[in-house]
């Protein structure tokens, strides 16, 4: 009698075990299925465009005029690259320096205060940054910065978007970099200081190297975020699908192209297909980036092992 209850109980436990394992597996595969589904939908819906126009021709043409069935993606691609590169040039040094300050120099209440403010900043929705920028950064660039360089721009454009995006992604990069700096064991610092290195030398040649892979991936993730940023460019870039000829010029990024044309053109099959193809390009590029970042990070980690 007692024995049978025991087997019964064991059987029950095993069943629960199996069921929960199944659940976890389903949850895991669900993520993969979702990704495959998204990519499949994008590819499937881009086919009408791809079957009619040559990819190379579309990627190198500067003429975007969906009403007349010409789809040149180059202006939007160039705009996206400009914005991403410029924001990273402005944002990365600030992010790394701030991260070093918070992780290595700031102490006590200052540290808590600064780092919690940075977290709050990271949590502000980007549409808020866009709104504030419309009121502050656009006139600043249009009335002061552009005339300084002899340009009569209105303030909407590539530079404005890059400035704002640099501000939007910096907190995010700081948080990640601080984490990887703080994860370093104290022995590293003590050893370095112990052999007579100054604090700055320790940071520069020991800590930054050791935390390198982490900081590097923070920067790359930030790059990915700028690349896919939608609302800030849509609000501030000026929405002109043409090749930008200066930093103050208006332009278009791939995500803002989708946002601004989506509303009126979804119902015309070939234009819809074109916009979905833009989406496909974005997904592929961002995925390549993440994949590349992963590989590079692995390489770096192996080289900079401590």
């Amino acid at each position: 009698m007692a024995e049978s209850t025991d087997t019964h109980r064991l059987g029950r436990r095993l069943r629960i075990e199996r069921v929960s394992e199944l659940w976890l597996r389903v949850a895991g595969y669900f993520a993969i299925a979702l990704f495959v589904l998204i990519v499949f939908t994008l590819v499937h819906r881009s086919l009408p465009l791809l079957s009619e126009y040559s990819v190379v021709q579309m990627l190198t043409s500067t003429d975007w005029n969906p009403e007349q069935n010409s789809f040149g993606f180059l202006p939007a691609i160039v705009g996206t690259v400009y914005v991403a590169v410029l924001s990273m040039l402005m944002g990365t040094p600030i992010a790394i320096l701030t991260a070093i300050y918070i992780a290595e120099y700031a102490e006590g209440r200052t540290k808590t205060l600064v780092s919690s403010f940075i977290d709050v900043l990271a949590a502000i929705p980007s549409v808020i940054f866009g709104l504030v920028a419309l009121v502050v950064v656009v006139p600043l660039v249009g009335d002061y910065l552009a005339p300084l360089f002899g340009s009569s721009a209105t303030g909407l454009g590539i530079l404005t978007v890059s400035l704002v995006m640099a501000i939007v992604v910096t907190p995010f990069m700081i948080s990640l970099s601080v984490e990887s700096l703080e994860a370093l064991p104290d022995e590293l610092r003590e050893t370095s200081l112990g052999v007579g290195a100054t604090k700055w030398e320790t940071i520069r040649s020991v800590l930054l190297r050791a935390a390198g892979p982490g900081i590097f991936s923070a920067v790359l993730l930030g790059f990915g975020r700028v690349f896919g940023a939608t609302i800030v460019p849509a609000m501030l870039i000026g929405g002109q699908t043409q090749m930008p000829d200066s930093l103050f010029a208006t332009g278009q990024t791939l995500p803002s192209l989708i946002v601004s044309d989506f509303g009126e053109l979804m119902s015309i099959p070939i234009t819809q297909s074109a916009l979905i193809f833009v989406g496909l390009m974005l997904v592929v590029v961002v995925w390549l980036f993440n994949f590349g970042a992963m590989l590079l990070q692995r390489r770096l980690r192996r080289r900079w092992q401590y």
């Binding site: 419309l134 909407l156 454009g157 609000m235 929405g239 601004s260 119902s267 819809q272």
Partner: protein, 324 residues
């Protein structure tokens, strides 16, 4: 007091409720008329729906998203009616779209209330040719337009989002048989803003700027007077360099709408807006559209739009009755 239910029971109940609620979403979607589409006609359709609901046993589920979204929704049978800020495209009709006009909406050129040549603009107006030259950047200085000492560069703003109003403006500027496409217009502009509201704001902030706006952004909603910081640009219709008695109707919204209704103000930029469905309108949707084309028309003027003319209304009603 003993608790005769467990936390698990409560959760179970919640789950059941949620499932039922979700099922409700999928199940009885027929009780409400679902509408989506263009942002231009949205305010009017909302007013109509409210009024209609009071007298009829129907509820409405209305959302914006843009004309193309509405059309794509209606063709995918996610909504019953699509609001359209423009005429249906050839390729949309091929897919089975059926549209009837519902009202006329208007855009007008706009400048800042402190524009350097505002007095001249209001006295002489601008002809279509002058407006075209400004928007295509042949004329780049306010001083070039009138005999004044003003030396102030013109800033042109446009729309960055796909906008039927902007399209119509391009049609108007191009003259008889040559329309400027929205993309051409975007390229000529100094900067484009996402939405009517932002364009209005940009014009309000910039004394040397010109753009276009829906008249609901130009005249005060309540009083119908010119109260904000933007002013309409009167069109010198016959191009004689002065604004005659007949061409001068920009002081109040009422006056302006009357001019649109009488066909004095040109179309485009005045344009018809449409309600459309996948094939013929069905059941409640059909009755609602029928009501819009009859009783509904009387509410149009109060909301800053222009009702359809008699002939056009008759035509629309016949079309509606006959179906595609």
């Amino acid at each position: 007091m003993t608790r005769d239910y467990s936390r698990r029971d409560a959760l179970g109940l919640l789950g059941t409720g949620a499932t039922l609620g979700l099922a409700g979403c999928f199940g009885d979607s027929d009780s409400a008329v679902r509408i989506s589409g263009g942002v231009g006609p949205l305010p009017m359709v909302e007013v109509w729906a409210d009024l209609y609901e009071d007298d009829h046993d129907v509820s409405f589920d209305i959302s914006g998203g843009g004309t193309g979204v509405g059309v794509s929704d209606v063709l995918n049978e996610q909504v019953d009616i699509a609001m359209m800020g423009r005429q249906p495209d050839e390729s949309e009709i091929e897919q089975g779209l059926f549209a009837v006009p519902m009202l006329i909406d208007t855009v007008v050129g706009t400048v800042n209330e402190n524009n350097p040549v505002l007095d001249e603009i209001q006295e002489h107006g601008l002809s279509r040719e002058q407006l075209e030259a400004i928007f295509t950047r042949e004329i780049t200085n306010w001083g070039e337009l009138y005999d004044t000492d003003v030396d102030e560069e013109i800033t042109v703003y446009g729309r960055s989002d796909a906008s039927a109003a902007y399209m119509q403006w391009g049609d108007f500027l191009g003259g008889e048989d040559h329309a400027h496409t929205e993309n051409e217009m975007e390229e000529w502009a100094d900067g484009n803003h996402d939405g009517d509201q932002r364009v209005a704001q940009a014009i309000g902030d910039d004394e040397s700027a010109i753009s276009l706006n829906n008249i609901n952004y130009v005249y005060d909603l309540e009083s119908g007077e010119l109260e904000g910081d933007i002013r309409p640009v009167p069109i010198d219709l016959d191009g004689d360099g002065t604004l005659s008695e007949e061409e001068d109707f920009y002081d109040t919204r009422e006056e302006f709408l009357a001019a649109v209704e009488d066909g004095i103000y040109p179309a485009p930029p005045a344009r018809e807006m449409f309600l459309s469905s996948d094939g013929a309108f069905e059941d409640e949707a059909h009755e609602f559209v029928e009501w819009v084309l009859t009783e509904g028309q009387q509410y149009v003027s109060d909301n800053g739009y222009v009702p359809l003319e008699e002939d056009r209304l008759d035509e629309a009603q016949t079309n509606l009755a006959e179906g595609p």
